[in-house]
Amino acid sequence: MAPSPAEERIDRSGRRQALPVGSVDPVAKWDVDFRRSCYTVWFSDRASVCTASLQRGPVVAVVPFGRGGSQLVTVGTVPLEEPVAVSRGAVEQFGRRFRRDRVGLVAAGFLVLLVALAVVGAPIVAGLTGHDPTYQLPGGLDNNGLPLPPLSRELDAAGNPNPDGVFLLLGTDRLGRDVLVRLLYGARISLLVAFTATGVALLIGVPLGLAAGYFGGRLDMIVSRAIETAMAFPAILFAAGLAAVIGPGLVNVIVVIALFSWYYPARMVRSAVVSLKHQQFVEAAVSVGANDRRIMLRHLLPQLTAPIIVYATGIIANNVLFEAGLSFLGLGVPPPAPSWGQMLADGVSGGLYRVVPFVAVVPGIALMLTTLAFNQLGDALRDAFATRGR
């Protein structure tokens, strides 16, 4: 991007707009660097390039001065009522890149549909078919007591398909319950647990990583050791044990999963902050008197939004499987509330799937597609944010 004079800024459509500037060094030219979310400042007289944090208020650049020294120069001011240019520009760029990613769009579409089906669709389908996820259809099992396959109709008393019976798109389960309705209600629990647990994990991990990376020293050592120790835990074993001790239940499952996922964002944020905190925009913020809290929340955290979102998407994918795994072991949300892992376990335990494989295929595919979609969405977001990830 070519440098623009200090009196201009770039608006969301890429046009240059006049900007009221009280510049101390009117010779300097500055521009918004969207990739790195900061201003790049060119000094005509010194032929040097500097960067400053993207903030409302004075734009301060650290300028090399003399031999190895540096000098602070105010090159312009973004008035308080002006929106900070980066948020719009970056969103614009992000949107443009994301819209070109077909796989990402399909994944996002699938997930939106899934959430809609889980939140709104589940009661609608339950209403249309006339039964809730725990209702055992009188004609839901065949004469051998086996579940009905997908695309079949409820049976009459003699065991023949009843043309007036309920149409079972995905068949029935071990107890003759409608799998479609159970799958939709199960999506509620899967998504609720995965989203909430990831949220809790971020609420623990991001502040810890931020503080550890920024302050360093003893705090960093404690947090780093805690992360390493947590990663040394046999997660599934320990989570299963924990779930067994504190008992099953929605909140307990969320707590257990969050306890075993906070260290991913913590580690990532810590290492990112360690490499960011010596950059000039932080020095500039320090030099204009910003305190630690302000630097962390207003200067460092905004830099990390993109990688955090990308990470969170991956953690959600993991946690969907984590919840299913716990439910599979009988340690998730207690029955009769449906959950995908529990439906899968229902089909697998006792070897029912060997006779009627669809009882394991249907919930397994639901799980796999959801995880796949979150993983693909994460990749697409990473590409669109142009951040470097795993």
Binding site: A232, F233, P234, L237, F238, A240, P357, A360, M368
Partner: protein
């Protein structure tokens, strides 16, 4: 190097201590708060309070928690993980045979996933965006997202149960049983049977890892192939095979070894889902069966053992890394 090794080992010991402490704390202390009393469980529902108190005294659960923890730690140093509440035999007598089963499973799976991942990753890296690369990328993405507790029963159905019925993918085939559906054959009984009983579980465990490793190898090798040293080697007339073997390999291999050490270490603590699905009496299977019985010494023993394996692998990987790369030692 010696200083680094000592420091790293010290950290490893600290980590194991932390894990055992938390495991102990969790199962002994929280359970007493939530009212899940192992003595009650052992004594049975009909036991009088006096009987429960006596059982509690015998198990040692009436002592203060720090005393119990101290006894537990002192025991571990002697290789004694305590006494199972329910099976009434030393925990080590249960854990060590189970660890053997898990080790066989994990090592077999690791060999398998490397055998799959290395060729797939290299093909992807050498011919990026080719048909083979695209197809393998799709399969990799699917396998990364497929939960192992789903892959395992599906494999069992396709390759063990259906063939035993004379079917494969619904097509009639000659009646040959390739693999047992579940169960474990001890190598002392029959080595062929042992290998046969482990093949499907190893495959089930390896597929997810294979996909992950293939993606990792592809990305890493692709990045290296862009480097100048590869260009120089090409200019000097080195063949692709030679470039991979003599130039790229030595750079990529340590990273894979590190990753491998971590993953094998983490799975040695019990490949829970695979073991449960195929009824292999490994650590995960034992843990699964004991966790709900509140058999704490056994549960804590398995967790401690698993953590020990993970930390050992972690420490080992770091030391290897430091030996190969002096920059890490700082």
């Amino acid at each position: 190097m010696l200083r680094f090794t000592i420091r790293r080992l010290g950290i490893g010991v600290l980590q194991v201590l932390m894990v055992t402490f938390l495991a102990f704390f969790l199962f002994y202390v929280i359970s007493s708060v939530t009212g899940a009393d192992p003595a009650q469980r052992v004594a049975g529902k009909a036991a009088t309070p006096e009987q429960v108190a006596r059982v509690s005294h015998l198990l040692g659960t009436d002592r203060p928690w720090y005393e119990q923890y101290w006894n537990f730690l002192a025991g571990i140093i002697h290789g004694d993980f305590g006494f199972s509440f329910l099976q009434r035999i030393p925990v080590s007598q249960i854990i060590f045979p189970a660890a053997g089963v898990t080790t066989a499973l994990v090592v077999g799976a690791a060999i398998l996933w490397l055998l799959i991942a290395i060729p797939v990753g290299l093909i992807g890296a050498l011919r990026p965006r080719s048909a083979a690369d695209r197809i393998s990328a799709v399969i990799v993405q699917i396998l990364i997202s497929a939960p192992v507790f789903w892959v395992a029963p599906m494999l069992a159905y396709l390759f063990a149960y259906q063939p035993s019925q004379g079917l494969f993918l619904g097509i009639h085939i000659p009646h040959i049983t390739f693999f047992p559906i579940l169960g474990y054959v001890h190598p002392e009984k029959s080595v062929a049977g042992w290998i046969n009983s482990l093949m499907l579980p190893c495959l089930a465990l390896s597929l997810g890892f294979a996909a992950f490793y293939a993606r990792f190898i592809r990305a890493f090798v692709l990045e290296q192939l862009d480097e100048d040293y590869v260009l120089v080697a090409r200019a000097k007339g080195a063949s692709t095979g030679r470039i991979l073997r003599s130039h790229v390999g030595p750079i990529v291999a340590p990273a894979i070894v590190t990753l491998l050490a971590l993953d094998v270490g983490a799975t040695l603590g019990g490949a829970l889902f695979v073991e449960v699905t195929f009824a292999l009496p490994g650590l995960g299977f034992i843990a699964f069966n004991t966790i709900q019985n509140l058999d704490y010494p056994l549960t804590v023993g398995v967790i401690t053992f698993a953590a020990l394996m993970a930390v050992l692998a972690n420490t080992f990987a770091d030391i290897i890394q430091a030996a190969l790369d002096p920059r890490v030692r700082a």
